[in-house]
Amino acid sequence: MLALPVYLDYSATTPVDPRVVDKMIPFLREQFGNPASRSHAFGWGAESAVETARAQVAALVGADPREIVWTSGATESINLAVKGAAHFYKERGRHLVTVKTEHKATLDTMRELEREGFEVTYLDVDENGMVGLDVFTQSLRKDTILASVMYVNNEIGVIQDIPAMGEICRERGVLFHVDSAQATGKLPIDLASLKVDLMSFSAHKTYGPKGVGALYIQRKPRIRIEAQIHGGGHERGFRSGTLPTHQIVGMGEAFRIAGEEMANENDRIRMLRDKLLRGLTRMDEVYVNGDMERRVPHNLNLSFNFVEGESLIMAIKDVAVSSGSACTSASLEPSYVLRALGRSDELAHSSIRFTIGRFTTEEEVDFAIDLINAKVGKLREMSPLWEMHLDGVDLSKVQWAAH
């Protein structure tokens, strides 16, 4: 029997893998020690668990465990990386580069740095959501200190060419930060070969708990950043605050499982995603947003033309999806990511993000296909725009009374 609602919003967050929960529980009960306690076995046990987890996280991304700093999540990691590097290297220059389709964690951090006197270039993407390497190269100036690009986009799932961008940055002596919140467990990451100086991670997008993340800070060549949170000097002074042992253990186990199962899991998820795509594009006037080749297998972002996204989400409440990202879905603005792709307002307003994951079944995908076909049909029957489209009216030529 199918449990409703069906969860197809894995890019908002993932359920914690039961194996991860099992590893975490002892650190809430008997092994509750503070990893910073040096004077007794409670502390030593907790510290050892934290270091095991650090090695597990480092292993998934090809880093040295000494390059991993614990944080409260990707948002904090991004803040620490971008502000920390900008503040440390501000004598070298005041120019930063990022992309218009980045997560708000990056965009709002950049806005804050602009208020502090830094200058930021926000790069355009092409119609598929990709940053052109020539566009990227041209944006880097003599006074550019850092570029920040996300590996995998949270809304459309496209994969930027991080290896090539890393080479470009390294040649020009520009620091390179990569937001990998949506990338871990979805594609192989090898920081030993990537020319990336700083990389942000989240646990809860990869079947770990919420409230924990990590920042990779490269050792060779050594990257310096200014701490943003001060206190007891934990994490070699990069990030003070008592370490949440249970969450760190959870993130370590989650990343260990991701490393072991990623290859097989992605094949299965791709099969389900492609089935969903076929089942939904049987309808007319359904458009894929974002590049379909350079994309993680988990993501499908579609625009159902002539149907408004919020009403569609309401109609398909037995399938949990989102329009735009979870962080912006409370607003009435259409997705700024789809706007950056040059999508018309109608198509941006009509978009739905489906994200598939470890626990998605074929039965759930079949259910979603049937439900969405039925509800899109019903809403189109109710849509004056669909009626005009069927009558051959070109909607872009209509003079709308704006309000």
């Binding site: 002539f306 149907v307 009403s311 009435l332 109608e346 109710m382 004056p384 009374a401």
Partner: protein, 138 residues
Amino acid sequence: MAYSEKVIDHYENPRNVGAFDKADPHVGTGMVGAPACGDVMKLQIKVNNEGIIEDAKFKTYGCGSAIASSSLVTEWVKGKSLDEAMQLKNTQIANELALPPVKIHCSILAEDAIKAAIDDYRQKHGAAEGADAARAAA
């Protein structure tokens, strides 16, 4: 976004979805909003020879609140004279549906739509005749 029960009811069982022939002299059509803003409402009234709205239909592209607002308006205007229907206020719609502040524009749009439909009908019958337009058509 949490919706009120009345919004959900109108959204799941919308009243009077459909269309009349725009060219019919008894029909007034109002279309308001813009796709760029995320909502477009088309509201139509059918007026009898006594100047009474005897039927109404709508089609709406928009969120659940926009669909519910237009569905509600089609119910309310049936049986009313054009002048009575002109008195309809968006606040009545917003109150009835318990719309949250971010959705008040949906009720404003529904008020605009019914007014546009009445204007369209009156224009077909000579604007100066106002409420007597129906008699002129007869």
